[in-house]
Each structure stands twice: as structure tokens, then as C-alpha cells.
Symmetry: C2
């Protein structure tokens, strides 16, 4: 019998011969097999689980058996019990070669593991750790061979983990000193990108955490994630406290312009909100803030600048120049974020002055650059951020939609909050409306509605509500393709009210009465015309007449019904089944960048490849805009839409402006 | 006539042919000639001065003449007047080739210039800028070609200065935004190490400054330096406010050990002191703190750790392990130092747990590693830091001298301050002493002494005073070679006072009376024995019997008379002319590291090469120590010393212990 044995690892198929007595973990490392470990082979962490196959393997031409590795000892049994290692599994570091074996590495023991996606629309998050934990037992310092604390930690990391030339944030030295003395030199180091020591804790630490933050104009959302497996442990959201300085982005930029120190106030308030959220998610998950060593932050350019303490006003005027658009890494402590003192914050790159790190995160999550489908991604706010393309080419633009979609500049408009109308249906014959409000599952014509809404009342109409209302009015024939509320129908319903020269539609009798006015229709037409024109401009550039897939991002995107978005002509025609809400896509993108090192390089490269199109300087934008004012569009066909809803006959403005004409006489 | 011309630059001798019309600055850059410029060739800064030679140059075989370059225009004349450009000089960027020329680059127009040293003992400081200024005119941002502020600054720096791939501290973006908008894109960037943008100011900025700080246990000293030429513009010193936590290093370490939060208190106090000093020197020089972009800090290991916010207690117990001993760079703002927001602080490496960044700075200033002379460098404090060697080999050790040299544990000892005795002479016949006190230029037996010292009084004796006193007592025969105050001489002088079994020498009648007691002599013997033994241990290791040169560093070193240091046997024998005070050497080393990039690499490499010798584990140290207790030494010869002073005859302890013996009977 030879003094070595063959080891074959599955699923990688890597194989090699090793001396008898070699541990399976050592063999895996020598072969470059992806087998996890935190404790460095001391049988403590239970991460290096493997299954030794039993039987004769024709493919590998070896006989593998349980007794071809050493039996589990007492300490392995203890660890297996404590770590809940499934039966039949061995710890790779405690199983030593006695003969030829086939060893399977289960997915959860792989460092670069694929996380099961929770819903089909989400891109599966692969883990490619940005921060890895490495447990070492640093030698005691000796008088004879003086070496610094950092020196002996470095030596141990190089010796046990092959991590050479590590740098260390001077702030992390503060924790290093007591950590090395607490348990006789046994410490766990958090190593970022294989290059930097960011944190050191005494003893064996098996989990380190990351924070993904999406700073929206209205809400701030945070997810606490296990950096080793990408699992979300806690999530929390809060209103963006900057709202008191202005509801929408432009009013915040104005606040900064008009008030000295205004930007600093907004910076302080959003930083505090993020810091509080970090505390909330950590408390919810029962995780010490000191164990959070990495954060990823995304946001639109204004949020991005304000969080960094930069002046947002150049983003509010042409040419909308950001201070920096590249990805940035900086210490969390410099952003008032109280995580581990060595924690770093990674901010995704911005695509352009109007297309932010949130759009970059959406692109990372939706991954249009990895497929052949021509995908249109739209994030609607005061400015719509628009991305279009596929693996061959990606284009980006922003379009000045204004705040109408957010319920601003709408007569009965309000922010999406309990009491706001969010769904609307109008009977095609009687023209009687029914609706749903946020906070109630019932339609307004269902029994119990009044009871369910007693507390909130019916207070106004939010962005998705106004879109459905106008689309339904159009589909019911109460608004013409040109966007005129048809006073000629006043004879058939008491809900059309004359309002000077125009008509309004009374959606709810009140109190307060909720009206859709002619001005509201015009505001939505302007907004949707701008959005459509931006998308169309990119389609022209890309040379396509249709898109294969549409992703509607942001809170707005998650509430809007694709059919109504098309009926209104907000987006180009598309198979409704291929219009997806990517409501959480920016947050998903942030989480991907949090746990996947390669994804950072991917999004940084992606952003550089994106061709930026500036709508304001494109002559064709105005032409597209004018055409797109009509419902759903003056000339673009909507074949998919026609299959699911009956569009009013085109070009038969039976009573166009009749109301106005009659009134004006 | 050809369409190009030959240009030869002196003193470099670089030469090349260029098309007629090429500016001399452009030619210099193309040839890699070291010619300074901040404004990038716009004729504004006046830095690129050259002299065009007149005549026929056999060596270069060309005819050079004034009219071989274009005449100075009006704008050059204006700049020349404003910048006080000497007559006969041209601005290289405004002088264009018309024919063959020899062009001399004067020293002050070279980037890597040699600064004239102010005194012969000091190492000349060469300038090799760590931070360079680069003026650019960044293009206006265009709607059509959106680019971030950082992007257009980077593009301009790459285009005009060849500085590619620059990183930028996110904190510096805050200043970048308004700077780029103040003067239409004209800004000056401070670029650190050719890689990082640390600061940006509007318009043309011609000077940036650096701060060199030496944190001593007793005093903190700061020098403000022009980073372009190394010139010191202002200097200031202050008491180290940590003194209220303990006079010497060990009592501060004890304070940290015994008081929770004590280290943090000391950190805050020294950081504040450094910040205040920065304000002082900036105010004195009329320099805006915002223009200070780099600082270098040196200090002994305890000061180094406390300034960084690290726990100093491991430095107080064997094995004296520092948290980190390598050179560190970190943002000034993280150390509470309010310079430019992007300013960085460079801390020199420590050599070992007891041999600090100050010793590394002394080594950099004294440069033993560049010469053949075997140099012994000694920095005396609670622990003496000792370096020995030359270009071939360098050794370091620290020796536990205790605080006696600082006046502690000495009966009448005090810190060096007005009123403290610092010089002592004792008449060889009458045994009458005379002395000088700090704050007065007169000897105590000179007329007017009482008047000059009325204010301070004569309050005690400082470190250099006690050394001279004991050395003089020894040379006068009042103390034996074994260190016993000879009571047998009491018959010849009333200044010998019985004090139990031993005698004291009354140096000053008082009030208060100032005595040198037998215990004082013992304390100094212990201290000097430890120091000598440490030096001797290194000499053994290096295999030398004598040293060629001795540098005494620190405040102590600058006040001690080499002859007395030898008479006491504090240092080995050496030609007194080769025993130099390197009082300021740590500060000089800090200034070198401040303005010379290569010096940082030099000291980092040097520190790695130094062999650390731990006195506590060397058996021979104790033997050396016992031998070195005698005055000047039990067995080591002092040939150089014997030439300048008459040593008492050895081995004739006429009245050894006679005083004690008489008393004890």
C-alpha cells in the first residue's frame, strides 16, 4: 500500500494525491477547492463540512468508504452537536486520509455560495465575500524577539491563511491591543478584500455582518445581512427626515440653495436616520453593532451628495454636474455611522448627474447587461431615471417628469399614506367610480369600507391612484385621447362638474371631496409625455421599435399596474407579463454589492460602459414629448395593450372640447 | 536652416532637438529635466526660471545666444517684476526656441532642490516633494458631455501634468465643488505622492505648507515648513500637558493603568496641544491652516501610542510590545488636528517597544547608515534609546536608566526650568563650588548673579546640573571611583555634611539649601551604568572597542557637556570634538520626512534593518552594568578624556568609606 491516497472533491471534480494523515481541509486548500473555514482547521467553527461518499466510483475509478478517513473523535462530536452538523457530515479539518476517497462539499460549506432567491423576479445573489473572517492563534510576544501586536497578527494571518501584506486602519489598532491580550493571542480578524484588516475580536467569532442602505427621497431602508451567506437577518425602514426640508428632490435642492447651512442640516438629518436604522436592525437581529464591518449605500444623486456632505445644488441646474460619480469607499465613522470602528462604507457609482447610485443598483439587480432581452428600466421620481439595453449596449437618460407622479401639483394629490386613494375603477356605462385607499383591503363599494377607513378617512389621491384614475377615465371615454375631460358626458353622470371653462370629475364626495381636474390631467400628461419621450429617445438611439421587458423600480413602480401605465402611455407597449415591478431593486442591488466582491467591479465597469443621453440637448426629445402627450400616444401602437383592454376608438373625438365650447358661449 | 533646434540643459547635461517655437519648459519636461512649475506653463507662478547662456560652447558644440529664444513679452515682464525674478533670468514657459541654446536651471528652479543647511552639524535637507501643487484650468462641464467635478479635475491633471489615476479623499470633494466654480474651473490641486488629490483651492495657489511635530514627554515642538523648499517659516514649543498626569513616561503609563479612561484623557490633552501649536505656528507665519496639507509626527513609543489613542500600558511591562511599529499615514482630522480637511499625518516608524519614532527620526537626521564612521546615538529619558552602527550594520537597544537624568529621585532634583542649577564647577583645592542657573548667564560667583536670579531664585538642580556636579566632585577627588562621597575630606571643607552613615555635599546654602547626597550619587551611578552597559552591549555585538562619533539627542543631550558625560562614564570614550549634541535631531528628522518623499522610504527600510537587542535578556548586560557603576568605569580606558581633564589617580582610595566607618563606630 502506498503512503498516499487519492482524494476527489465533488462537485468541483478537483483531485490529487496526498500523504495518509492529511486532513481533508488541507487537501481541499491545496487543490483550491472552495471549502469554508473560520477557525483555520481547529475543529471549532463547524464550517468545513463535507460528506465522504461510500461506494465504488467508476468515473473516478476509486473505492471510497467511510473508513478511508479517520473516525470522528470526541471533540469533533462535540462541535458537530454544538454546530448542528447534519448526520453523515464530517468536519474536513478533523477527518484525515486513510485511503482513496470521494468527498462532497455541500453548498453551505462553500465560501462562494449561491443564495437561493426568495422570489423569481429577483436576481439570485451569489456570495463572494467582501469581508472574510480568519481565526488565528497569534504567538505570545517574546522579549527576545520583539514584534508589534500588528506584526504578530499579520504573521499569523500569513502563516495560517496565506494572507500576506495586509494593511490595517490605525483605528483598528485600538481594538487589536485588548483583543490580542484577552484570550492569549486567539483572535478573529475581519479581512476586507483580502488586503485590509478592518476589525479584530478576541477568540473565535463566526459571523460578521453587513448593512445595505437605500436612501430614497421619501424613505430610507436598511437590511442587515450575514456577510458569509447573504442572508437577510433584519430589515427596517423609516421616513427620510429630510422631508421636513422639502417633499421632493428639487425642493430640497432649493432649500440648500436658499439657506446657508441648509445642506449641512439635511446631511446631519439623513446620517442620523441611517445610524438609527442601523441600531434598529442590529437590535432586531440581536447583533452587536461592533460586528457590522461593512455597509453599502445607494441613493439618487441628491441623496448621495447629501449623505456625503456634498453640495447638491449643482445637481439642480444644468449641466447637473455631480461632485464625483465613481464608487467611493470611506470609513463609516466619517459618515456618523456607528458600526465597528473599522467598518467601511461602499457607495455605488452614480451613472450621471441625474441617474444615481440607486439606478446603478437597479441595473446590478436587474442585470440587463447579462442578457439578450432589451430591457427598459424606469425609476420614477421628480426626474425619471431611464436605462435601456442589453448585454451589447446600455443607455441611460433622465427625463424631467416633475413631481406629478408623486402626487404633488395634483389638486387632491398627497403622498402615499393611509387614507390616500391608490386604486380606481370607473364603470364603463354608469361612470360610477369605486376605489381603494391605502390601509384598507376593501373597495369603496364593498360592505365594511366605511368602517375600515373610519380612522384614516379618505384624504386624497396618491401617485398610483391618479394614474389609475386618469387611465380609467380615458378607458371609460370620459377623457379624450387629447386629454380633455369630456363635458359632453355630463348629461350621463353627475360626477362631471364644470369648473370655469373645463370640467372636473368628482371621484369621492367627501369630506373632503376628491376631484380630478383638467389641470391634473394636464400635469400627468406632461409627466408621462416626458417619461415616454425619454424612453423613446433611448429606443431610437438603440435602434429598436419595441422593448422585450420593462422593470418599474422604486416605490412608485411597485404600486403601479402595468396595464394602466400602458393605457396612459407612460411606458411603451410591452407584454404585460414582461412588465415587472422592481420595487426593491435598488435595495437588492445594494445587498448584492454588500456580499459580492465581484459585483462591485461589475457595476463599476457597467457604469463606465453606459452611454449617457442628455434629453435636454436632444432635438428629437421635444418632438417625442409632444407626440407622447396624447393618450396613450399620438402614433405609437399598443398591440399588447389592446389585447387586454378595450381602448376607446381613436380619432373619434365625439364631443371633444364640447364642454368647453358650450360653456364659453 | 532646419525647423528644429538643439537644447542643452545644465547642470543635468540633458539635450535634445525640438521644433522651433517649443517652450523651454516643454523641452525640459520632454527631457525629464528637473524644472519647477506650479501654474503649468501659463507664465503666472514664476517658478520655471532659467538662464539662457551666451556664447559658443565647445563642449556642446553649439552657439547659444539670447536671441536664440523669443524675447520676453509684456506679461512675462509683469510676472518677472511681481515674482522678483532676477535680471538675466527668463521664464521657461514664456521663452520659445528660435535656435540652438544652452539653458541653465538654477537650484531654486529645481523641484528636487538641496536646501542649504543652517549649521554644520545638521544633515542638509534635500527636497523631494511629498505634496506638489498643480494649477489647472479645468474645462467647463457640458450638458452634452456630462462629467463629474472630480472627473474634469482628473482629466485636466492628466492632460496638463501627466498625473494619471489620481485618487481623491471623499472629504476633499467638499472643497472641490466650490473651488471649481469660483474662478471658472481654474484651481490648484495638492497632489500627494503623485497619487492622491488631498486639497483643491480656487485659482493659482503657489505655496502649501507642512507641519513637523516632535512630541516629547516634557515638551511638544512644532515647525511650519514650506513644502516646496523646506524652509522653516515658524517654530513653537509648548509644555506637554500630559505632565499633569505624571512627570516621566512611566508615571504616565501607570496613570493609564490605574485610571480607567486615563489614556483617553492623555490622548485628548496631547492632541489638543498639537492642534494649538499648529494654530500658533500658522498665525506666526501668517499662513491659513487650510494651506497646511501634510504633517509628520515623531515621539517615543509612549507618546506615539497616546497620540494615536492607543493603550500605552503594554509598553510599560515586558515584553514592551507596541501595537504597531510601522510607519502610519492617517487623516489629520482623525487626530483632532485642524489643518486642511484632506491633510494627512505621517508617523515615522518605531524601531521597537522602547526605541521610538523619535529615535527613527534621529537616525534619519544623523544618518549613521550612510557613513563609515561607527556612530553611537543616545537619547536619554526614563529609558535611554541607544543606536549604534554605520552603513554596514545598525543596532538598537533601550536601557532602563530610570528618571534620575531628568532630575527625578534626586534630593534637590527638578525639571529643567528657570532657577534650576545646570552648570557646576568645583575648585580642585578649596572645594568651593560655583554654578549657573537656567535663566541667568552669570556664574554664581560673578557680580550681579543675585540680582539676575532674584526672580527665579535658585530652586534645585536639573539633569545636566547633577551630572556636572557629580563629575566635578569626582574630578575634585570628593567622590571616589566607587562613587562614595569621601567624608575624609570634611576637614578641608565645611561643605561635606554628615548625613547618617554617609556624607552630602552642600552645593548651595539656600534657601533652600541644595545638597548632593550619597543617594543622589548612587541614583546617577545606576542610571549611567545602565546607559553605558547598553551602549557597551551594542559595541560587543558590533565587534568594536571604540566608537568614532557620539550624538547625544534630546533636550538632555543638548545641555550636557561631553567631557562631563565622559568623566562620569555615561558614554564610552571618544574624541570630544566628535561628541555632538543632536538636541534637535528628532525634530530635524521629522522635517526631513516632511519634505522628502524618498526619506520616508529610507527610514522605513532603515528601521527594518536595525537589529534590536533586548538588554533585559542579555546575560552580559548585568556584567557590563556592574563594571560601569564605577567612575568613569572600572576597566574601560578613557584615553581621549585623559587628554582634556586630569582624572584622579585610580586605585588609591585614600579615604574610601572612611566617613562611614568612622561614623559606624
Amino acid at each position: 500500500m502506498s503512503a498516499d491516497a487519492l482524494v476527489v472533491f465533488t462537485p468541483s471534480g478537483r483531485r490529487g494525491r496526498f500523504p495518509l494523515g492529511t486532513s481533508l481541509l488541507a487537501a481541499a486548500r491545496a487543490l483550491g477547492v472552495d471549502l469554508d473555514s473560520v477557525c483555520g482547521g481547529r475543529g471549532l467553527c463547524g464550517r468545513c463540512q463535507v460528506a465522504v461518499a461510500d461506494g465504488i466510483f467508476a468515473k473516478h475509478a476509486i473505492t471510497s468508504a467511510d473508513d478511508h478517513v479517520s473516525a470522528a473523535g470526541e471533540s469533533e462530536a462535540l462541535t458537530a452537536a454544538r454546530r448542528r452538523v447534519p448526520a453523515g457530515r464530517r468536519l474536513g479539518c478533523q477527518a484525515f486520509l486513510l485511503g482513496d476517497v470521494v468527498v462532497d462539499v455541500p453548498p453551505e460549506a462553500q465560501v462562494h455560495r449561491q443564495v437561493v432567491r426568495k422570489n423569481a423576479a429577483e436576481r439570485a445573489i451569489a456570495v463572494d465575500p467582501v469581508v472574510r473572517l480568519a481565526y488565528v492563534e497569534a504567538p505570545e510576544p517574546l522579549l527576545e524577539a520583539a514584534v508589534s501586536d500588528l506584526g504578530r497578527l499579520r504573521a499569523a494571518l500569513a502563516h495560517e491563511w496565506g494572507l500576506a501584506d495586509l494593511s490595517c486602519d490605525p483605528q483598528s489598532l485600538v481594538a487589536l491591543q485588548p483583543a490580542l491580550r484577552a484570550e492569549g493571542g486567539a483572535v478573529t480578524a475581519a479581512v476586507r478584500e483580502g488586503r485590509h484588516i478592518v476589525a479584530v475580536w478576541p477568540g473565535l467569532v463566526e459571523r460578521a455582518y453587513g448593512l445595505a442602505v437605500d436612501i430614497g427621497s421619501t424613505t430610507v431602508a436598511a437590511h442587515l445581512t450575514d456577510l458569509a451567506d447573504g442572508e437577510v437577518l433584519a430589515a427596517a425602514g423609516a421616513m427620510n427626515p429630510q422631508i421636513r426640508f422639502g417633499e421632493d428632490l428639487m425642493s430640497r435642492v432649493s432649500y440648500a440653495m436658499l439657506n446657508p447651512g441648509g445642506a449641512a442640516e439635511m446631511t446631519a438629518s439623513v446620517r442620523e436616520a441611517v445610524d438609527l436604522l442601523a441600531g434598529d436592525v442590529a437590535a432586531e437581529a440581536g447583533v452587536d453593532l461592533d460586528r457590522i464591518v461593512e455597509a453599502v449605500v445607494v441613493g439618487n444623486p441628491v441623496m448621495h451628495h447629501l449623505y456625503l456632505g456634498l453640495d447638491p445644488t449643482p445637481l439642480g441646474v444644468a449641466p447637473f454636474t455631480p461632485a464625483a460619480d465613481e464608487a467611493l469607499s470611506l470609513p463609516a465613522r466619517e459618515l456618523g455611522l456607528h458600526l465597528n470602528p473599522g467598518a467601511q462604507v461602499y457607495l455605488l457609482p452614480c451613472i450621471a448627474g441625474h441617474v444615481g447610485a440607486d439606478a446603478a443598483a437597479v441595473a446590478l439587480a436587474e442585470a440587463p447587461h447579462l442578457g439578450d432581452e432589451v430591457t427598459l428600466m424606469v425609476d420614477v421620481g421628480t426626474n425619471a431615471e431611464i436605462l435601456l439595453g442589453n448585454r451589447r449596449r446600455l443607455l441611460a437618460a433622465s427625463s424631467p417628469t416633475g413631481p406629478a407622479f408623486e402626487g404633488a401639483q395634483i389638486t387632491s394629490g398627497q403622498r402615499a399614506a393611509p387614507g390616500a386613494i391608490e386604486r380606481v375603477r370607473i364603470d364603463r356605462e354608469s361612470f360610477e367610480p369605486r376605489f381603494k385607499v391605502i390601509g384598507s383591503a376593501l373597495w369603496s363599494d364593498e360592505p365594511g369600507f366605511a368602517g375600515e377607513t373610519r380612522r384614516s378617512g379618505v384624504t386624497g389621491i396618491c401617485g398610483s391612484g391618479i394614474i389609475e384614475a386618469i387611465a380609467e377615465l380615458f378607458l371609460a371615454g370620459l377623457i379624450s385621447a387629447e386629454g380633455v375631460i369630456d363635458g359632453g358626458k355630463a348629461a350621463r353622470t353627475g360626477r362631471l362638474e364644470a369648473d370655469g371653462r373645463t370640467f372636473s370629475f368628482r371621484l369621492f364626495d367627501g369630506p373632503p371631496p376628491i376631484l380630478i381636474t383638467q389641470n391634473d390631467v394636464r400635469a400627468i400628461q406632461l409627466a408621462k409625455g416626458a417619461l415616454y419621450a425619454g424612453a423613446r429617445l433611448l429606443m431610437d438611439r438603440l435602434g429598436v421599435e419595441t422593448v422585450d421587458r420593462i422593470a418599474l423600480a422604486g416605490a412608485f413602480g411597485s404600486h403601479i399596474d402595468p396595464v394602466y401605465a400602458m393605457a396612459l402611455g407612460l411606458i411603451p407597449d410591452c407584454d404585460p407579463a414582461k412588465v415587472v415591478s422592481a420595487g426593491n431593486a435598488a435595495g437588492t442591488g445594494a445587498r448584492i454589492a454588500l456580499v459580492n466582491r465581484a459585483a462591485r467591479a461589475e457595476v463599476e465597469a457597467l457604469v463606465k460602459q453606459v452611454e449617457k443621453v442628455e434629453t435636454a440637448v436632444e432635438l428629437s426629445f421635444q418632438a417625442h414629448f409632444v407626440e407622447a402627450m396624447a393618450l396613450p400616444h399620438k402614433s405609437a401602437p399598443y398591440p399588447h395593450l389592446s389585447k387586454v383592454v378595450a381602448l376607446p376608438p381613436r380619432g373619434t373625438p365625439s364631443s371633444l372640447n364640447s364642454g368647453r365650447r358650450r360653456r364659453s358661449r
